[in-house]
């Protein structure tokens, strides 16, 4: 299954980094959740964001995906400054995400969930939907085909017609990934994709990430499981209390004193 690129092409000024976080700070009233964080995510790599609970990782994700804009700083995606873009605009530009606490459309089928993901890549207008024009019909067929293909890609095609809430936990996490992939992203943000997984499921997840990479999609994940992180990431950023305390490849991070202290010995 190839990802025919329907997201806009990167701006001419883009470099080989797909995402640049530039001195991003996020304050909620008096609380500083993210404090002057900067790093680059290279195109085609797996980038991990780790840190103790409450370090500001999901807040950073939310700033990137438009749930709220950063208080200060720039978020540059494919050469474009996207700070302040709304979530649906971020999706249209090519950033997709999953959620820490799984936010599926529970009472829609798995297939429908993935269909919704294709909303920003399809263009049937109101008129088409109302009168089931040939354009709409053709598009619906394509949407369904692609949705089934994506369910196969993550391995849950057998449950296409089940309500999302009836799926097993692991299947739900995979469904969320399939739904995110449906938006044809260039950058996929995974928020704790391995949470609650068995070791077997974690291995399968790592294989899935490899498959996603092979499609040309950059993966940026938040994760607590060090085996997974060290196993698949090319680069790691470590946040603690909103500050970036380490940045580098797994071998370096593993030995970094500050990181070890921040985790107080937690890890693989």
């Amino acid at each position: 299954m190839t990802v025919a690129t329907a997201a806009p092409a990167p701006a001419p000024t883009a470099h080989d980094f797909i995402l640049r976080i530039e001195h991003v700070t996020k304050r909620f009233g008096g609380l500083v959740a993210v404090d002057d964080v900067s790093f680059d995510v290279k195109r085609g790599e797996v980038f991990a964001l780790i840190g103790p609970n409450g370090a500001g990782k999901t807040t950073l994700f939310n700033s990137i995906t438009g749930i709220f804009p950063p208080t200060e700083g720039r978020v540059v995606f494919e050469g474009r400054d996207i700070a302040g873009a709304k979530p649906h605009q971020a999706a249209a530009l090519g950033i997709a995400r999953t959620f820490q606490n799984i936010r599926l459309f529970e009472y829609m089928s798995a297939l429908d969930n993935v269909r919704v993901g294709q909303h920003c890549r399809t263009n049937s207008k109101l008129w088409d939907s109302l009168f089931k024009t040939p354009h709409e019909r053709k598009e619906e067929v394509a949407i369904t085909e692609r949705a089934m293909a994506l369910l196969e890609f993550v391995g849950i095609e057998k449950h296409a017609e089940n309500y999302a809430r009836n799926l097993a936990y692991g299947q739900q996490r995979r469904l969320e990934i399939a739904r995110a992939l449906a938006t044809r992203p260039h950058l996929l943000l995974l928020d704790e994709p391995a949470a609650g997984f068995t070791p077997q499921e974690k291995v399968e997840l790592m294989r899935l990430v490899d498959k996603i990479l092979a499609e040309g999609i950059t993966v940026f994940l938040i994760e607590h499981d060090m085996k997974v992180v060290m196993g698949i990431s090319r680069n790691i950023a470590v946040l603690d209390h909103g500050e970036l305390i380490a940045l580098g490849p797994p071998e370096v991070i593993r030995k970094d004193q500050r990181v070890i202290e921040a985790y107080l010995g937690k890890g693989a």
Binding site: P87, H88, A96, F105, H119, C120, I143, E161, A180
Partner: protein, 406 residues
């Protein structure tokens, strides 16, 4: 017993099993047979019965429209009658002699079916105007805003008496005329195409209404099963996730709101034509609430349910309750409570008292439905699951998988 139970479980958990086609079939057959039955059971005097259902059709149309807003997109609109009024007054302005008495001093007489669509678009425009700044508000605030709008519109029509004749309303509206029509055995005429057909007989109204409703049901169903319909469901389920998946939530809500307004305006124009009169008293909060009660009782989000709910509530409101007083008096006398019949100081007599039940019944329907069966009489597949709180069937995930994997 076991078979029944597993059938029920499959019905309730498998999205593929859909009872709706069956209900549609029943409704369709009933629609065709009803006039026949009406005439047969009254010995040819069935015109009144037919006319009543034709009138109910306007409310069904309104309910289908409100269902798009409330049932599909999950937006509570408490001022739906405002768009109904806008459609009706549009017809009054554009298809009568009324404008002669206004500063314009020039009557406009557009053809019936054109004004229907003008009313549709004018109402939709107002829906956009109201919706654009307000649809980003949270649910309860949106409800209040629509309530406010629902109060403002009829009052404005009442107050601008220079243009609208105020409380007296506008009457003598043009009768609805269709450019072509097909006469046939259903109206007791030979099969032939007729020009400039005046919709006057109850049977003609009935047929037009049924056709209109059939078309609307098809269109709304198309919407439900399309990209737009899925986006509405997604936004209703989880707005944050929907936005993250690329759905422009404000725009999609606006679309639902405008479509709802369009339905209401369309129905309003039709209503004005049928009644040949519009007056600000007909578009108050009671009308908005009646429609809401219809879709809540019938099954929000599910069109056959909405249709059935509308018929039921219409019957209760316009047929059963008005007929209740004499029945109540008779019943009271029969069971020995004849003393309740006449007025007595503050007591208006049991007959009159029964007529006062409407508010209580509406309120009770809303409250009990929400508490006991929020999915309505004929629930949408989705809604049924959505609103059941904590009552879990003891079916395991494996059972579902095993049963539904073909």
């Amino acid at each position: 017993m076991n078979i029944l139970r597993s059938v029920r479980k499959i019905w309730e958990t498998d999205p593929r099993v859909d009872p709706n086609p069956l209900v549609y079939a029943i409704l369709g057959v009933a629609a065709i047979l009803y006039p026949v039955w009406a005439q047969a059971s009254t010995g040819g005097q069935g015109d009144f019965l037919i006319s009543v259902v034709a009138d109910a059709g306007v409310y069904i149309l309104l309910a289908i429209g409100l269902n798009v807003v409330v049932g599909f997109a999950g937006l509570l609109d408490l001022g739906y009658a405002a768009f109904f009024a806008i459609g009706a007054y549009t017809y009054a302005f554009l298809a009568s002699d009324h404008l002669v008495v206004t500063p314009l001093q020039q009557a406009i007489h557009l053809p019936f079916w054109i004004v229907l669509f003008v009313g549709l678009f004018v109402a939709a425009a107002f829906g956009l105007i109201l919706g654009a700044p307000t649809l980003r508000l949270r649910g309860d605030y949106l409800a209040i805003v629509t309530l406010g709008f629902g109060e403002i519109v009829p009052r404005v029509f009442k107050n601008l008496s220079v243009w609208t004749s105020g409380v007296n309303g506008i009457s003598a509206l043009d009768k609805p005329v269709l450019p072509v029509w097909l006469n046939g055995p259903w109206s007791g005429d030979p099969l032939e195409v007729v020009q400039n057909f005046k919709i006057v007989s109850p049977m003609a109204f009935y047929v037009v209404m049924v056709l209109l409703l059939a078309v609307c049901v098809v269109l709304v169903n198309n919407l439900r099963r399309s990209r737009v319909g899925r986006a509405w469901m997604a936004v209703r389920e989880d707005e944050v996730a929907a936005a993250a998946m690329g759905v422009n939530t404000v725009r999609i809500k606006l679309m639902a709101f405008a479509i709802g307004a369009a339905f209401s305006g369309f129905a309003g124009s039709f209503y004005g034509a049928k009644l040949s009169l519009v007056s600000p008293e007909n578009f108050g909060f009671t009308v908005s609430i009646t429609i809401l009660v219809m879709i809540v009782l019938g099954g929000m989000g599910n069109i056959p349910g909405v249709i059935i709910g509308s018929l039921l509530v219409y019957w209760v409101t316009f047929l059963f309750l008005p007929a209740l007083p004499p029945l109540a008096e008779e019943w009271a006398t029969n069971i020995g409570l004849g003393a309740l019949v006449p007025t007595n100081g503050d007591w208006p007599g049991i007959g009159q008292e029964m007529q006062r039940l409407k508010f209580l019944i509406f309120g009770a329907i809303l409250v009990f439905t929400m508490l006991l069966r929020p999915q309505g009489l004929i629930p949408s597949r989705v809604r049924q699951q959505e609103l059941r709180k904590g009552v879990q069937e003891d079916m395991t995930i494996e059972d579902v998988n095993a049963e539904t994997t073909a």
